[in-house]
Amino acid sequence: MHAPLFAALIRLADDHLILGHRLSEWCGHAPMLEEDLAMPNIALDLIGQARALYSYAGDIEAAGRDEDLLAFGRLERDYQNLLICELPNGDFAQTMLRQFYFASFMLLFWAEAEGSSNATVAAVAAKAVKEAKYHRRHCGEWVIRLGDGTEESTLRMQEACFVLEPYLGEFFAVDDVAIEMSKASILPNPQSLRGAWLADVCEVFVSAKLQAPDLTHAHKGGRQGRHTEAMGHLLAQLQYMQRSFPNMTW
């Protein structure tokens, strides 16, 4: 087994599954019908991307774990998603801002991964980059509309910036797995995307009349399986069916 590749795939898949799950919590609760369609649609894309990644990770591991077992059959400490993905949704402004941050990052990430030396990674990236582009645009428009909107929406978007800011640095944290992946030209080094990401965020923030985020203080731990208190509650919901009826299929 290629251990760093397996770890890198699991991290990416966990980011997408956990954030996709969070987003799906809005289904039926969105502030307007159009968003009630948009958010589960984005969630579907993310979970679809996670599926492809888990399934490939299972092949690499070659230990008989399939996408379902990897998605639903692990303990909290085995999940290695970014902490920002598991944070509770907060209000609509906070959800949209997080989604914008994530989509902007993933758009840069997948665009580079399209040229991956690994054919499967390149194929997933080629598909995902088109989807991320759409998410980035949709969520970016909401950040502008709310940031430069009414007195109330501006306050809420500013509050969302404040809440999410300490979780942004983790996007760009680098360890052995990340270095190994970038050396082998399989996945981009996240640190190398920092400048382009900040430029993209600032472009939207100028129109949204928001302050550029400060990335100096960063909560970390997600990549090592050390989560916030929100994670256990999220997994209780996410894993309920598989825990209650192990190995069930639809």
Binding site: A38, I42, A43, L44, G48, A123, A128, E131, H138
Partner: protein, 162 residues
Amino acid sequence: MVDLEAKRAWAVAAAVLDPEVPVVTVADLGILRSVEIDAQGRAVARVTPTYSGCPAVLAIELAIEAALRDAGFDPLIERVLTPAWTTDWITDQGREKLRAYGIAPPVAGSSSKRALFGDVVVSCPRCAAQDTSKLSEFGSTACKAHYRCNACLEPFDYFKCI
């Protein structure tokens, strides 16, 4: 002989209808990429999903498999991710069927950034008016956006360009 069998297998698989829009076939949409008879005599159908999370993918694969089996083939479905599916693969016939069904087909030429993000003109599938406005980037399924015709006032789905 094998060549004829492959042609027959293609015809069978290509006639399978999309479960969401049951007027277009999987061949019209460009989801069915190829059907070949391999060395073991199996009919290998290669299928490319439209979106990563499209819930119809499994249903489509099962439908193609069932159609081939019913026609006497030993089917094998292969999911192919590269090259990624694009709306450019929807055939002219498929586009016309979509329009007749009330879904505006994608404005041609997804490869340009303008088609995805720019101000493209989407004609109303009912009255053909060009005065339409986008209500939402996301419609009833991942592959569609929601529009309204300002002339006949009907809302409609637009098959978005990717």
